[in-house]
């Protein structure tokens, strides 16, 4: 099968005149312009990578998670997330879904280091948090759906020292002070992929800013691999690697 995949990939990715038309320099400028136009949106996409918005596995009461990539590395988002089960599915009455509280906090290490050591940055503060709740219900022995709400808040503030302001796309940037906050609706579905391995797909939709993302995740006892897709974001694909423990 792998041989067939390789042959097909070779056929589809054959170097054609179309590839020669890619102007990487202008694409880079476009991406940089989009970041400057909405820096909070750009940094918030990485916050979504660390947000733990899947329900606790059945039978678990607490969970702790830290995101390793692309948050801690390379973005230096030191972060921690917690999950706590308020009640298990069917415990109060048959059919009542599981309810988990989720939340987390992050702080950008690079911003602290820049403030301390940089000759150009006067002050920098990048950080955020989120809190929410996830309802999950089994719809068959192998499928669980979940619905949730989260409130996400991000603060991004950067001041350059007088006389040291950088020039970007012909404009001198002296500072920016921006933020992001929104209330999100979450809908997802989870299904087993193997023994103690789960696969889920979920939609996160911001009610006020219309920010949305789709998260596809594979997770086991310790690690979660994910592919977060931000169709309207600057970087559309975020491969994600998280570490978690559930008790």
């Amino acid at each position: 099968m792998k041989r067939i995949i390789l042959i097909l990939l070779a056929l589809f990715l054959v170097k054609s005149p179309v590839f020669a038309a890619i102007d990487w320099e202008s694409k880079g400028m476009q991406i940089a312009g989009e970041i400057m136009a909405n820096p909070a949106g750009f940094f918030y996409d990485f916050q979504q990578d660390l947000e733990a918005t899947t329900p606790l596995p059945p039978g678990k009461r607490f969970g702790i998670q830290t995101s390793l990539f692309p948050t801690t590395i390379p973005m230096t988002y030191t972060n921690v997330s917690l999950k706590a089960r308020l009640h298990g599915e069917g415990r109060i009455a048959p059919g009542v879904p599981q309810l988990d509280l989720v939340g987390g906090y992050w702080d950008m290490l690079a911003a602290k280091m820049a403030t301390k050591d940089s000759e150009t940055v006067d002050s920098a503060k990048f950080g955020g948090y989120y809190v929410g709740g996830i309802l999950s219900a089994s719809v068959s022995p192998r499928v669980r759906t979940f619905w949730g709400y989260k409130r996400s808040v991000l603060k991004a503030k950067l001041d350059f020292k007088a006389g040291e302001e950088p020039e970007f796309l012909g404009t001198t940037v002296s500072s920016f002070d921006t933020g992001f906050k929104d209330d999100f609706f979450i809908a997802g579905i989870e299904t087993p992929k193997g023994v103690n391995k789960l696969w889920s797909i979920q939609l996160n939709y911001g009610l006020r800013t219309q920010t949305f993302s789709s998260k596809v995740s594979w997770y086991g006892k310790y690690f979660e691999l994910g592919l977060n897709i931000f169709p309207e974001g600057v970087l559309v694909f975020h491969p994600v690697w998280n570490f978690h423990l559930n008790f």
Partner: protein, 400 residues
């Protein structure tokens, strides 16, 4: 763009998969969940690489009140991102997003006959390559309406049934305005010129299904509340715009040995009483009048085939062609002059894919497409008519 919006509205009705949602005998509540997600890179022959995706999420709940009375609630989120598009529809960079709510009461009158009255609400957002805020989109719209459907099962063994449905929608475009009129008249206000795209839509469809063969006829009428028809004098007359679409379609989904085929063909006749004035440049004192400019016939043929090599893996191929021939619209040459031949647009797509079934409810697909768009219109300052392109992407699907 209007065509895209109309398509979105039609899709805002209950999708076939949602229609098929059936209660499990032992349960009062049966959830319905369907999410598909795709993301691709696009490489056009003209212009730079870009990426775009599609998301469709449906979350529903079917409640069995009694054996004969069911209530089905459905929320639908849909996003259509940047991508190649048929000529005369939208720019590559246009995106749209919608939220739909449907509530349907299902009453079984006999074992074979049921009626389904329902209400529907939809909010749609649009966005261009200028990245304006979603709430400011020119084609943002709100719709509300109702529908009545009746299903008659004529062959229980082969799942044979016929559905007749009438639906009605009142559609408002709160941001839509006549940009040219506003530009030409300094005192013009958006809220005065607004409402031009507001319309009332009615649709009747008759759709038989049998043994995984399906087809039908769909007739749609759009009556504009305010938009008038432009006359050959270049000014709007008293007649309001009215568009109709008559669509015939047929398809099936069958497996033969390792081949899984789900081809579909449709033929649409679009009529509009709207005419067109062609201004070659702003301030053109001798614009050309073109009557019945928007009438066309369109054919769509889609032939996807999957080769199920193992129970998990499949190799897929798909051929898709869309051909639109205008009844009276003449093609334009490079200088934006009408030629003597009627405009014909063709878009052909060849797709190859690898599909992996993760389990009984989930699958992932890697795909690559080659697209050829051609037209006898050669004036391409605003919209591309003749181009080729490649796209490569990944798609996920999870349905319960």
């Amino acid at each position: 763009m209007k065509k895209i919006i109309l398509s979105a509205l039609m899709a805002a009705g209950l999708a076939p998969a949602a229609f098929a949602a059936a209660p499990e005998d032992s349960k009062i509540f049966t959830p319905f969940f369907d999410m598909t997600l795709s993301e691709a890179a696009f490489l056009p022959s003209e212009g730079n690489i870009f990426s775009g995706g599609n998301i469709n999420t449906q979350v529903g709940l079917l409640s069995k009140i009694t054996q004969a009375d069911h209530l089905f609630a459905l929320y639908n989120f849909s996003y259509a991102g940047q991508g190649f598009a048929p000529q005369d529809s939208k720019q590559f960079t246009d995106r749209s997003m919608s939220h739909g709510f449907n509530l349907e009461y299902r009453r079984f009158l006999t074992d074979r006959f049921r009626v389904r009255p329902g209400v529907a609400f939809n909010t749609g957002y649009s966005r261009t390559g200028a990245n304006e805020a979603w709430k400011n989109g020119l084609y943002n719209m709100n719709s509300a309406g109702a529908q009545l459907a009746a299903d008659y099962t004529f062959d229980e063994e082969k799942n044979g049934y016929v559905t007749a449905q009438y639906l009605f929608r009142s559609i408002e475009f709160p941001n839509y305005t006549d940009l040219l009129a506003e530009f030409q008249s300094a005192g013009s206000q958006g809220n005065i010129d607004g409402g031009l795209n507001d319309q009332v839509m009615g649709q009747f469809s008759l759709r038989p299904n049998w043994n995984k063969f399906f087809g039908g006829v769909t007739y749609t009428v759009q009556n504009y509340r305010n938009q008038k028809v432009v006359e050959n004098t270049g000014v709007y007359g008293d007649t309001k715009q009215r568009d109709t679409d008559t669509m015939l379609d047929f398809g099936f989904h069958h497996s033969l040995w390792i081949f899984e085929m789900y081809p579909m063909v449709s033929y649409t006749m679009h009529t509009s009483n709207q005419n067109f004035m062609k201004y070659k440049f702003l301030g053109d004192t001798a614009p050309e009048f073109a009557a019945d400019y928007y009438n066309f016939k369109e054919m769509n043929l889609s032939v996807p085939v999957d080769l199920n090599i193992t129970s998990k893996w499949a190799i897929g191929g798909a051929f898709n062609i869309q051909r639109r021939a205008y009844d009276k619209r003449m093609a334009r040459n490079e200088d934006n002059d009408f030629t003597t031949s009627k405009q014909v647009n063709t878009m052909t797509t060849l797709t190859g894919s690898i599909r992996k079934r993760i389990n009984e409810v989930a699958m992932v697909r890697l795909f690559g497409s080659f697209i050829v768009a051609s037209s006898n219109t050669k004036f391409e300052r605003y919209m591309p008519y003749n181009y080729t392109g490649n796209s490569f992407g990944i798609a996920y699907s999870l349905s319960y």
